[in-house]
Amino acid sequence: MTALLEVEDLRVAYGKIEAVKGISFKVDAGQVVTLIGTNGAGKTTTLRTLSGLLKPSGGSIRFEGKDLSKVPAHKVVSLGLAHSPEGRHIFPRMSIEDNLRLGAYLRDDKAGIAKDIQRAYDLFPILGERRRQAAGTLSGGEQQMLAMGRALMSQPKLLMLDEPSMGLSPIMMQKIMATITELKSQGTTILLVEQNAQAALSLADQGYVMEVGKITLTGSGQDLLHDESVRKAYLGED
């Protein structure tokens, strides 16, 4: 089986500073793959490069066999790659429904869009109750739901979630993780970037540990969860 996403020796630099120093990983269709690591490991930089917001300085990104490294950001989503960015970045002065509509910006099937908006409301009922409200008035957790719902609106082949649990209350975090589990059971392919290693690894098929721009460890979610060095470094055990 060929991988849906295949990243090889990817390098990304901000000026002279290299933030991602030659990483390789892959995501198969139907899998949940997670990149874990501390702040500054280069996880967000990696996702922003995959979606075209940053240009790689080396290496290759293949999505369904197609080279992504020269595709401009606004064309990436049309290939089937949706990105829910770190910090949520919902459009604060637009309504929740308009935010969702923007997720379907390139789609022309009105009926399908309406159906998918309804699906987002089924997944996150609070969004449906507040559909006319400005998105900036939502709580952090609700904004995260909206960001995920919006990313799903493009019917992606690969959903990239950057730090979906960041800054959320424990209850809200559980809710978000439960939703990711639900999406996984529906067959959505997900690339999950998280600082919360415990939560991410317990639902991931495959995990990669990133440290200062490099992948230092890889294995199945369960293996990494029980790996001693991971437990020490990321799960707070001595």
Binding site: S51, A73, H74, V77, H89, P92, D98, L106, G136, G140
Partner: protein, 309 residues
Amino acid sequence: MHELPQQLANGLILGAMYGLIAIGYTMVYGIVQLINFAHGEIFMVGGFGALTVYTALPSSLGLITAIPLMILGGVLVSVLVAVAAERFAYRPLRTAPRLAPLITAIGLSIALQQLVWMGYPDAKKDVPFPRFEGDALTILGAHIQRGDLFVLIAAPLCMIALGFFVNKTRTGRGMQATSQDPDTAKLMGINTDRIIVMAFAIGAAFAAVAAVAYGLKNGQIGFRMGFIMGLKAFTAAVLGGIGNIYGAMLGGVVLGVAESLATGYISEIPGMELFGGGGWKDVWAFALLIIVLLVRPQGLLGERVADRA
């Protein structure tokens, strides 16, 4: 001459023109955070574009039938100049420090004035613009020149069309998204470069409509007309809350009415006899701006929605 309805009507006519021009400042600022100081000249070249079309038309054609074609000509020239400015002057500087595009805009403004001054026949002084013949109409106690009806009809139509475009169409929503968060807009599949060009083009088209209104009202246009009108429209955009399209029109109308009322009534306040009349109207306009910004720094309709990160 100093009756209230008349002063209000004068203010409204002037203010609608300010508002139409202000849309261009506010849209461009809302999307690329650039004060396009050449926008006054985008307005000015629109006037010359409209006049060129009028001159080329057979004189047997009445002014009323010529107007749609004049608007078309003006819009075409303004849009072309604005889009070229964006493409060749501003886009290469998009990642440069803020000051660079700002100074470029000022340079462009001077260059456009000089180009018209040198290149347009007889434009070294003001050139005549067609006007409607006939007596003023009396509406609600105010005498309104026939040519002034143009802006009173065109401005609301333009605003309705713009409101529809921005809120009800996909591209309009893409424009709002780009102004709120350009990177995330790209993630949605929005071609933000195209949206930026569109913001310049819409602003230019509205400025051209304002230029036709200006010509019909004053009976003449000139290469310098963009300076003070542009400055006032920029003031209107800030007054209304820069980035907000309805704020731009509201700011324009408030500014126009305030100028008109100040011209008419300030001198009747005891001790203020010296400060009445048209010569002081710009002073009152900017005084109003300062007062509003002291009380409401974000402008009349400027928004401060909490963006919880």
